[in-house]
């Protein structure tokens, strides 16, 4: 059977600036962007608003017939914004917040149960170094391919893989409590 793909009318209406269509996009994809911001940004509320501002401004450049899904396209804009912010902070030499290294025993769960403890997993995620956390969150939670992450970060795919391996190793280290 041959299927015809029609562009999402909500996207077309949002491109034309229709507030109700933009509201619909926020409903559909707001949680995705918010998840990225709250896990990766030191100022999630500000970045959430700025990212959507960028999304709406760039929306006319989104090709509804193209290969990229809208959610992936939005995640890429969010990613690029957060990388820019991260670089600015590093160049300014900003103080990285005082880190409380986690306690050695967080709960009774051991082994595989520790991985399945969502609160514990979120907490372990939150203390990963920012570069590693970005790769883990975008790749595992939002399904962004490693080569796309590398392109947005302007680094080699090998560097991104290295960050992923280090990030996953540190996550497990935290979860194992050793």
């Amino acid at each position: 059977m041959h299927m015809l793909a029609f562009p999402d009318r909500v996207v077309l209406r949002a491109i034309q600036g229709e507030t109700s269509a933009r509201s619909e996009l926020l409903s559909r994809h707001g949680a995705l962007v918010w998840g990225i911001c709250r896990r990766l940004s030191p100022d999630p509320e500000d970045d959430y608003q700025t990212i959507w501002e960028k999304v709406f401004r760039a929306l006319s450049g989104f090709d509804p017939h193209g290969p990229a899904q809208l959610s992936t396209w939005i995640a890429t804009i969010a990613h690029r914004h957060l990388v820019d912010q991260h670089r600015r902070r590093k160049v300014r030499g900003e103080v990285v917040e005082v880190r409380d290294l986690p306690a050695d025993q967080e709960g009774p769960e051991r082994g595989i149960d520790a991985v399945r403890d969502r609160k514990r997993l979120e907490r372990a995620l939150s203390v990963l170094p920012e570069d590693q956390r970005r790769v883990v969150v975008l790749h595992h939670l939002d399904g962004v391919p490693l080569d796309s992450i590398a392109a947005t970060e302007s680094v080699a795919v090998g560097t991104v893989k290295s960050r992923l391996h280090r990030g996953r190793a540190r996550l497990l280290e935290q979860l194992r409590g050793r």
Partner: protein, 372 residues
């Protein structure tokens, strides 16, 4: 010691046949490693199933401009286009504001004259006034301000358009009061031949957009922000609050373990960072805790991460799992300069943290200044 990174690489199928055979044999022989491998295999699935939460609704409302603060709009409207005049001397219950010409977005509960009509707003409303022919345009100065009645009278016959975004607007008219609700637009005093004033834009600009669109506004905002920062600094000086930023010098506690006292710490530090990736630039043990600056010897994407990892490993080794590391770094084209101080949990306090941060920042800045 279990190499978890190797397990991660195994998960991606990145190991060579030799590495794969070696790790498979180890996993078969070591229950602890087997458990770690099971955890590693489960990790991607568990991460992917972490629930997403919706953002606070107020953020989406702000993005859509549904509750734009009035200050944004005051910035966005050319001053000449909106003439807001204070009118004094009316009876106490009468409005004290007259919108004589142009457009104004008004948020809140307020009463005013729009042209010659009394308007009571409770919500978020755009008011547009086109004064009648013969009204002295551009400024209210020509109007006899001694008599408010003259001003309102001079606006008799003005064309008024009111758009309500939220709440209500009540307009006094010859037929009584007209209540305009959210989503409605009403016009008064428009002749058939007169063009309808421009309606509200569908999507009010955000403050960031206004800044970008108008360099003059951007420059003015920057200037004001600098003035505010300077004033705050002066006030802080006056009140002696800068002492808080610098903190009080911290004395050395007596019951510290040897490896956190100056001599032991320096020995441990030089052992830990004897590898060829980082050079110890300075160690300041004048007061507790010691503050250290490090330089990466090589540039690269991973230098910053390696620095942070190395410092955290060192903190764990010297002060235990529950330690606090004040870490600061700067990345110049991949060349990383890092400063840190380590405080064990039983000696941690906010005051010591503030002081350690101040000293770390100062020492790091000193290194950067000497490089420049």
């Amino acid at each position: 010691m279990i190499d978890l990174e190797t397990l991660s690489r195994r998960l991606e199928g990145e190991l060579s046949p030799e590495e794969e055979a070696a790790i498979a044999a180890k996993i078969a022989a070591d229950p602890e490693l087997r458990e770690a491998w099971e955890m590693m295999k489960a990790l991607p699935g568990e991460l992917a199933s972490l629930p997403e939460t919706a953002p606070p609704a107020r953020l989406n409302r702000a993005i859509l401009g549904e509750k734009a603060p009035i200050s944004r709009w005051w910035l966005s409207i050319p001053l000449a286009a909106a003439v807001l005049l204070g009118v004094w001397g009316l009876r106490p219950s009468a409005p004290e504001i007259v919108l004589a010409e142009g457009s104004q977005r008004i948020v809140g509960e307020v009463s005013l004259f729009a042209g010659d009509r009394r308007l009571d707003i409770d919500g978020d409303v755009l008011v547009q006034v086109e004064p009648p022919q013969g009204y002295p345009r551009g400024s209210g100065a020509e109007v006899d301000m001694k008599s408010a009645t003259h001003l309102v009278s001079a606006l008799a016959g003005a064309a008024i358009t009111i758009t309500v975004y939220q709440g209500t607007a009540t307009v006094a008219s010859s037929d009584g009061e007209v209540v305009i609700s959210a989503g409605e637009t009403e016009s008064f005093g428009l002749s058939e031949s007169k063009a309808r004033p421009e309606l509200a834009p569908a999507d009010p600009p955000t403050q960031a957009a206004i800044r970008r669109a108008d360099p003059a506004v951007q420059a003015r905002i920057t200037e004001l922000e600098q003035q505010v920062a300077a004033l705050q600094f002066e006030q802080a000086l006056t009140r002696g609050q800068l002492r808080t930023v610098a903190g009080e010098p911290s004395v050395w506690p007596e019951n510290l373990p040897e490896n956190l006292k100056p001599a032991g710490f320096e020995t441990a530090l030089r052992e830990a960072f004897s590898a060829d990736r980082f050079a110890i630039d300075e160690v300041d043990c004048e007061e507790f805790p010691c503050v250290v600056t490090l330089l990466s010897k090589e540039a690269g994407d991973l230098a910053g991460e390696e620095l942070q990892q190395a410092i955290e490993d060192f903190a764990r080794a010297t002060a235990g799992e529950r330690s606090h590391a004040v870490v600061m770094s700067r990345d110049d084209n991949g060349q990383v300069v890092g400063g840190f101080a380590i405080i064990p949990d039983d000696h941690w306090s906010e005051d010591i943290g503030v002081r350690a941060r101040y000293r770390t920042e100062g020492q790091l800045q000193g290194v950067l200044d000497s490089e420049e």
